[in-house]
Amino acid sequence: MGSSLRVLNRIADSPLVERLGLEDRAQKLVYEGAKRAAETAARAAKRFSSKRTDGRPRSSQKFDLSLTEEQQLMRDTLRRFADDVMQPAAREADDRSSTPDGFLDAFGELGAFAMSVPEVLGGAAERVSAVSQMLIVEDLARGDMGLAYAALSPLSFVNALVHWGSDEQQSRLLPSLLEGESNAATVAVVEPHPLFDPGALRTAAKRRGSDYELSGEKSMVALADRAHYFLVAAEVPKVGPRFFLVERDAEGVETLDEPAMGLRSASLGRLKLDKVRVGSEALLGGEAALKAEGKAAYDDGMNRARIAWGAMALGTSQALLDYVIPYCNERLAFGEPISHRQAVAFMVADIGIELESMRMLVYRAAGRIDAGLRCRREAYLARTLCSEKAMEIGTNGVQLLGGAGFIKDHPVELWYRQLRSIGVMDGNLLL
């Protein structure tokens, strides 16, 4: 209880929270957190039963699209952050191909890390929810997908530790990440070749006694220039793909800048691994991960990655829709707003329809995780739809603005470049 309150308190103390006028929400967050902590303590005191619950919410088993109060609170906070901090910073960060100093700290102050880590591991979450994580992704991507990618990479690393890390790995790595070292870690799954398949990795982790030797290349790694830890996906021969915790200063680790069409503000880089030797404690989940549960964890990770990139598509597409609506209403041609023409208006309607289509598929897949249901099919279908429709929305957004969409005075060309990533990125983020 103490640790979670400490984290909550830090959120409330954040100068950013004050600057954004989020005190009310922060206070409510703290209040709810404290209330929960107290309730947890009271429950624990009441029954000393050591029976473990699986931590899963009891689903009402009714079709439901409403958010929990906590999710709504987090959502309000992140939307303000997206509008007031991310959108104004997006253009320059893209130009510089670098995540601005201070941005990750500012994000860290909002409490997303605390809300992602359960109380027993020092965080403030009553339970970890894939839907809540997905909403964080969506809301940040509404601010800017590149900056969101930067902010979410350490969070993805944390999520992986929470879901699949061994006790030793959790206690070794989580505290520093929770204490605000929000730029310390990232995830590296994607590899630089056509038809990349996260289930058939070229990066290998060969056994060398009790150690592993990692060789290969990872692509589009966010924060590659500054991360201390990389969560690397590598194929263990005769076992299958697994996650490894690799430190930046290990011998054979090299990072190179890898600027791309979009997502530039995430400080993209290529990670080269040349016979990098790591101990057995680097295998995420420890020795147990070599068995079936390691495969299940990796497959789960891929589902979570697909949902995460789907949520990225949602956020940026929503930003685009919110931008083209006033533009089309204000832009005059032939003596009236262009939105009075069906050719224009129907394009806007289709953006709205396909955005909501994507949203339904992504939400459903995340909801299934929280309900303890399998979601490989649902996550795959969500990715399939989002890959196609996100780019359609991106290109139609530019089209609606015409020449103005093509120049950098408007953010639409940036969204166009970023929405292309949805079909490309299969990995590198985890709910």
Binding site: F63, L65, L195, A345, S387, E388
Partner: protein
Amino acid sequence: MIYLEVPKNLKLVVNQAHQVAKHIFRPISRKYDRAEHDYPKELDMLAALMDGLSAGGGPQGAGVDALQREAGANGGVRNGGNMTTCLGLTELCWGDVGLALSIPRQGLGNAAIAAVADADQKERFAGVWAAMAITEPGAGSDSANIRTTARLDGDEWVLNGEKIYVTAGSRADSVVVWATLDRNLGRAAIKSFVVPHGTPGMEVVRLDKKLGIRASDTASITLTECRIPKDNLLGSSDIEAKTGFGGVMQTFDNTRPVVAGMAVGVARAALEHTRALLEEEGIKVRYRGPLFAKSAAEAELIRMEADWEAGRLLMLKAAWMADNGIPNSTEASMSKAKAARVGNRITLRCVELCGSLGYSEAELIEKWARDSKILDIFEGTQQIQLLIVARSLLGKRSSELR
């Protein structure tokens, strides 16, 4: 809490509807596609079965009269009549769209009665099979432009006009007719009237021959000095600018998700069957690996399935909103636009994927590809749905975005 699965308590109804679709509709599907305008007598048995279920206090059926707007949820989230009906029709249309449209006492007019009738009328029209007559030779999507008139003469309304494309218009026992009290007063003056068959002056003058849904009768009806009781007008006779036409149009917020569900059903039939046929050719769908490393057929099946899921989930969303008293005009139109267009595209693509087998009457796939087209037309065409969605998103009136 986000949970987008079909709720367990509705699975019984879904399963019942599926049994009807599988064991009653499918076996006679081709027969009534060929014998257009023959009355499917098997449906009488089905009607008796459904009545028996309701009379026996069985679970809430999948009928259109369950399409009522809830006043708002007290005691949590509701999965009610709208969702039940959508899911039920999805299953029935998996069996056969035309037959689903011909189930006695499940006409669109029944949905209108359920949506706008007062308590007294609901009682009076209970058990009636009501078709819906909106379209005229000179007014289709522009339904505010109808010419059929209603004039009050003593205790009776006198109707005059011509209606076309009336689904179940000859088989139903009543027709809900849209007519205007005063053409100069525009949409506010448009009201709906229940006209029982047999009323002097109302006549079925023609049955259409169609591309699809041939098991369902589509009638042209004339009204000539047709007199009905004063209280057969549904809702209020006041010409209030706000509630008049809107009240009638409100029916659509409830019925459009149902039509979306119909498209979801017929598309699922085509997808499932195509998948089974392709599996015999060694094409199996696997939800792993890059889409572009798959065969074109497998990739196309997956793309279609993703679009199909989108239509299905948008339908459930619109129904969920209606069940929980949340205004859903935009979402109802979104669901119909998406589900109907992908339903049509999927069924047509399935014909193509299955080659001459898909094109042949040896299979039902070609029939589904013909049946699906109407779903992107009636209850508001694709283009009308886009107009509604666009106006809502852009904040435009119909006078601005026309």
